[in-house]
Amino acid sequence: MSNSMPAIDRRSALKIIAAASLTAGSACIFVTGSAHAEEETEETGVKKNAPFSGRVGFLVKPENCLNCQACVEACRKFNKTSKDRPARRKIAKYEKDGEALYVSMSCMHCEEPSCMAVCPAGAISKAEDGVVIVDKDRCIGCKYCYQACPFGVPQYNSVAMDKCDCCTLGGTRPGNMPRCAEACKFGALHFGTVEELLAQCPEAKVIETSTKPSFYLA
């Protein structure tokens, strides 16, 4: 119990800061978001950033997550996910002995993705930087990838399977930082190469599954 007290105190403090910063910063985020959007339309098709050198992944620090949903909203906005559909990213709540942890989750961009192995149409592939991407023009929507994914990540819309592609728009613009990681103001969600993430947090734990997810928890 004594161990959990400092975490709660820190969390309460973070919540107050979050409430204040979210209210005050929402207008700024909106303005910045519009500026980004303008920039994006101007640079259509231009690969501005260099691809990540090495396999990319996510590092999540649940102790820092306040469930503010900023990552989910940023994902929803960039990927134009309508309100009536679930976003590509979600925040899962885990509870033990009254203590709750929030984990921001999306595609784990596994090293050996089972979704890619089972896709009959060969619509799922891994980009050079390890991002698992879906060719929507090839996907037949059999939903076998959902059954094969240990995390139940794939979702389906009226066109094809839909999941996180690290904001690369189907692999066309490698090198961009996913909007969810950019949106996290509390250091709960990090994106980078696996080497960078592990150097940043050597004690991070990998999730033990046969697909070797590029997703670490600390």
Partner: protein, 323 residues
Amino acid sequence: MEGLQNVWGWQPALYLFLGGVGAGAFIAAMVAYFKNGQKKSSTVFASVCAAAVCLVVGLLLLLSELITPARGLMMWQSFSNFSSWMTIGAWVVFAAVIVFVLEALCLWDRAVAFVSKGNSSFGEAVPAMARVLGIVGCVLAFCVAAYTGILLMSAPGVPLWNTILLPCLFTVSALDTGIALVEVITFVNRKKEGMGEATVLLLNRGVVALVVVELVVLAALLISMAMAPAGESHTAAVAAQSAALIFQGELAPWFWILVVALGLAVPLVASFVTLRASGEKPHIVGLAGAMGALIGGCALRFIIMLAGLHADPVIDTIVQLMG
């Protein structure tokens, strides 16, 4: 039906059942064909036709479940990744349909007479062709039966499915329900022709053996899931949860009544009665047993499909983090 697997609906469940029953019916029909000295038989012909229809309807159901069925029809593109069991299975089912149809044509007097009108040597080759197609068809049928289980087994996220026992169960059930379909056709066709005492005896002995094996495999599957050490990992906990759903949960009434009582106990008793009665004419009790086996086999696919809950491996790491 909340809390059950609902991403795959009723179409894939029915596809797995029809794939199995079609495959099993072809094998049972060929057993009867070879046992009767490869004599032409309207029952065998009808059984082969029914087997082909089952597979075609199954494939159409699978297509109807797709988001883009039209794209799915372009099989050379949509089923081109051979690391996927769905691809392998789709092509095996497709090949099986072709072989079943060709075998049906070889067993159909009118078709043989029509084709051999201008070419008498073709007519002479038909029995040999029927023999070869029968054997090739049996191999393909066995592969289809096993594939229906392998398709689910290769989903690592679902503990109930991710076991070798599932293809074993579905293969045995496919053979069992296949014999049942042939028995139903034999009963319907009883006024026209009998099956032959030796064949009836063989098929009923087959039912007894298959039901016993199916009971053992089903028990092994469910007990291994129920006994999974739930405290060790979330995957094991979900395995136990799936088994509990079937044994005593929401699916239990369907499992005990449709699968165990109708699908296994009734065919077993019916086969014993038929074996004691013997004779060429199919018995009404045999029909009851066959109908029970078909209903039970279908219910089994639905129950296994619905109880296929996803595990969440993240939980195990979170538990470590939380100490």
